[in-house]
Symmetry: C2
Subunit: 156 residues, 2 copies
């Protein structure tokens, strides 16, 4: 039942996460959760996806420890879905996705929702990659490095 990655790179820090959230819906569900949605029906209404696949996705997210089910606060007989610590850790990724979308998927003058600072309504600063010492880095300034390798086999 547990869907497993099948390719050689299954140990990589990019591939494993994709196994958990690398489908068309999971990140949208997580985003909705950040927006405060908690109930099955809320997700379903907002995203407009079939109930069976919403159920499957939520199950998967819970199984991966990204969301958790809790009893409702308001006494209704159902449960609510909330982000775990791990799920909340996805926020930078969501911001990166959104910023990339804003930069490349909209015409310069095309209106779109914006993620803004709650305190003053200004858009966030663009995410920037920094070295330990604070230098701003680009992709070409980085390299993936294998670990010391105590196990004998090296992932890329």
């Amino acid at each position: 039942m547990a869907k497993r990655v099948s390719h050689k790179d299954s140990g990589c820090g990019v591939a494993r996460p994709l196994d958990a959230i690398g489908d068309r819906w999971s990140l949208l569900i997580v985003r909705d959760a950040f927006d405060g949605l908690r109930r099955f029906g809320e997700f379903q209404k907002d995203l407009g996806l079939a109930k069976n696949i919403l159920a499957a996705r939520l199950r998967n997210l819970v199984a991966h420890g990204i969301m958790d089910t809790i009893p409702t606060s308001d006494g209704s007989p159902y449960q609510e879905y909330v982000l775990t610590e791990k799920g909340r850790g996805l926020f930078p990724l969501l911001v990166a996705l959104r910023q990339w979308g804003e930069d490349f998927f909209f015409e310069p003058n095309e209106a779109h929702v914006l993620l803004v600072d709650r305190k003053n309504g200004l858009p966030l600063r663009k995410l920037e990659l920094r070295a330990q010492d604070g230098r701003i880095l680009g992709a070409e300034d980085t390299i993936v490095r294998s670990p010391p390798d105590s196990t004998g086999n090296a992932w890329r």
Copy 2:
């Protein structure tokens, strides 16, 4: 043929990008491209996916302007796949994904590849969200805001 988003949220800055890269392989291909891979066979060998779906994914990435095909430099009769500007814009997202993976998908002592500063071999700083004025923000300090809305309908 062009796969289109079907749900209500299709205008959102999160949903549109997912339409382009929200599948199990595209981001891995892009990551490989950042690692310097360019040839069909290189991707296929590294990722171990079927050739037809690699071809489909590359076609899709090219169609979305994320990669581009260029003639080979070394005179071989084939083409190479390289990232466009738009594709290179995915680097922060890839870093976010990787950092999340490193934080939550590996045991503390489990060895894994690391993305490091090419200059000194130190790991990158954790990505951080900042307001315009430089304050570090968390998810709870932000809010999505609809645009002024000249069109009459508001996206979430």
